[in-house]
């Protein structure tokens, strides 16, 4: 197995039983300080780029801070953008724990959104929370079926999940366009073909005190729940063995097929919920705007977080903060919107590059001498 495959499967599967408290804390400090240092290095490298094109890094970073994190509005802005990203990243990180590289979460997002919108359109007027619950289940189920199929194809037929999920994302977007502009189209939606607007009781509002919809809370809860499931249960333990070596897992009698389909389906369910939240909390209808690239942003976040469900949260917020600052950068510095893309490229290459330094610093390895 290559280094790549090892890192893809996440942190070392099983910790040595004799690891001391010092050692554990050393690893934890390293896991935080190393990416943080890399973030600073990436920002520094991007400063050089800015100087090269004749712009002031000081102005740039003060604007990024101001627009992404500097005011109450900035936080609302950043967190609003974070909400769909967390669920989209889970769609990548969960199968990755089995060693599966699923990059088609976008498909489950758009179809989950369409399913939720269709539920609201064809079953309006349900009492109380029933409408929201129904949309939630519809979105989750559609996403689960879509990505679950990717897992099933992998297990049953050996179809490579990376390529099948990508193909299915393109198919899903075509299907969504067909549905919202054809059978599911509300004739009153003129120049923006959409499903019929949801009723008031089918809409999801904001978290109290914030200008951010409940999708953020659901995303955070989902990340924590999946972290517990994977790091603290036998299911997660079995998954880590499969992720480490499928054949070994099969020899041990682990239900590899069930794990593959189940993990993919739960990943798809989260993506489907992301689509449902977009419909219920943001758009109020299902339409072509569902395909806005959250699924692809999720790939990046999951890989940066090294498929650690908790790490997805800060990484997602960081990415969203960069995006939130894009507007002010364009307006104040006369830079194109692609500037933020370049910044993200620099920062993410730096953070990924820093993984090579894991275990190189004695500071984090108090017992390194004992081992050798």
């Amino acid at each position: 197995m290559t280094d790549a495959a090892k890192t893809m499967a996440g942190p070392a599967p099983i910790k040595g039983s004799n690891s001391s408290v010092m050692e554990v804390w050393g690893h934890k400090a390293e896991a935080f300080l190393l990416p943080f240092g890399a973030l600073l290095a990436g920002l520094a490298a991007f400063s050089v780029f800015l100087l090269f094109v004749g712009k002031s890094p000081v102005e740039f970073y003060s604007l990024v801070y101001k627009a992404g994190f500097g005011t109450a509005f900035s936080w609302n802005n950043t967190l609003s953008r974070t909400a769909p990203l967390l669920l989209a990243a889970l769609c990548v990180a969960i199968p990755a724990r089995l060693g599966l590289v699923v990059i088609g979460g976008e498909g489950a997002i758009v179809l989950g959104g369409v399913a939720a919108g269709a539920f609201g359109m064809f079953l309006p007027g349900l009492p109380g929370f029933m409408g929201i619950v129904g949309m939630f289940l519809c979105g989750a189920l559609t996403g689960a079926l879509w990505i679950g199929a990717v897992g099933a194809m992998r297990f049953k037929r050996g179809v490579n999940e990376t390529i099948s999920s990508l193909l299915m994302a393109y198919i899903a977007i075509a299907l969504m366009n067909h549905l919202v502009e054809g059978p599911f189209r509300d004739p009153a939606s003129l120049n923006k073909p959409s499903t019929a607007p949801l009723g008031e009781t089918y809409r999801i509002g904001n978290i109290p005190g914030l200008d951010v919809h409940w999708g953020l809370a659901i995303g955070i809860i989902a990340c924590i729940a999946m972290w517990v499931l994977i790091e603290r249960t036998t299911w997660g333990f079995a998954a880590r063995i499969v992720g480490g070596n499928i054949r070994a897992a099969q020899v041990q009698g682990l239900p590899v097929g069930l794990l593959m389909v189940g993990f993919c389906a739960s990943a798809g369910a989260f993506a489907g919920i992301a689509g449902m939240m977009e419909v219920a909390a943001v758009h109020g209808t299902a339409n072509g705007s569902l395909a806005s690239g959250y699924g692809y942003a999720g790939i990046l976040i999951a890989f940066l977080a090294r498929h650690n469900m908790i790490a997805i949260i800060p990484v997602g917020i960081l990415l969203a903060g960069f995006e939130a600052s894009s507007g002010l950068i364009q307006r104040r510095m006369d830079l194109p919107d692609a500037t933020i893309l370049v910044l993200q490229g620099f920062v993410f290459v730096a953070i990924l590059l820093s993984e090579t330094l894991t275990g190189r610093f004695k500071l984090f390895q108090p017992h390194i001498g004992d081992r050798s």
Binding site: K66, A67, T71, F73, N76, N77, S80, R81, N177, E181, G182, R185, P187, L190, N191, K192, P193, E278, V282, H283, G284, N287, G288, S289, S292, G293, E323, A324, S326, G327, L328, Q330, R331, P336, D337
Partner: protein, 374 residues
Amino acid sequence: MSSKFHTSRRSLIKGMAGLAGATALSSVVPGSAFAAGLTVGFLYVGPKDDFGYNQAHAEGAAAVKGIEGVTLVEEENVPETVDVQKSMESMINFDGAKLIFPTSFGYFDPHILEVAPKHEDVRFQHAGGLWSADKHPQNVGSYFGYIGMGQYLNGIAAGHATKSKKIGFVAAKPIPQVMLNINSFLLGARSVDPEITCQVIFTGEWSMAVKEAEATNALADQGVDVITCHVDGPKVVMETAAGRGAFVCGYHADQSPLAPDLYLTGAEWNWANVYTNMVQSVLAGGSIDNFVRGGLAEGFIKMSPLGPAVSDAARNQFEATKASIMKGGFAVINGPMKDNTGNVIAEAGQSFEETDVSLESMNYLVEGVIGSAS
């Protein structure tokens, strides 16, 4: 409801007389904007320089920049998601924008309608929307131009140029704005020769270069020899069509440099004129009507200069029709007329003038258009 753009002077008087509230059609932008200058924000759904839809708006914005007392702030590639809501609020919070032009159709519902009630001192001017007094906030307005008239004139030039009697249209999606353009293009050509048909191909995307090129080639394969389009950036369609030897009619902006010999004419936006008037009206302390429409006569749209391939006969009919449109009351849809599935869309003697709001919910393709409306 007036559908003409009001001059700043008239609006000013209206505002002073306190009629704005009474008519429920205008809203007054606070005087503070007048004293401290005015920050105007523009948001585009694609890149500012796409040779098409977004560039037309950005050129309009550039004209506003030159007005004294105006600060222009712009953002491009803003998706029609929560992103546009936050981008508008960012312009309000950080730049003090008091007049915002979100220029993509999809920004209207729900995004502008979500943000506008939270910022009552800011005016949101939306391109393409159908503002209505009983449904939408007073600080929101919508404006658009009768560009279908431009496509009708394109059709006249095309009708004279085509030898195969087949003209073609590369379209993004079957929505009212696009269908009005397709129908107008064909009806213009049929005013030259009623035998002409128009083949339409939908790409399904507002901006997808390879699909647009494939669609153009498919049209040329069918013997279509004049092509126009309604996609965000017409550059690819123009170049591919010209490469196949077909004549082209432009859209959104002047694309004549892309095919100097084969470019007949083009239907262009004239946003510089519209935006300058609107901003000056607000600067003078006046107001902008909530529902604004305009055509050739009002300077909302204009035609590209006729190309070298346009015959004298074509030129004469083009100019005569243009003069007739400028007079007002021109109708493209005149009964008796059927759509291309046989349904009657206009009875004998019935006609829909350019200002008719019902045209903005057009859901049919007229007889002679080969393509499906849904």
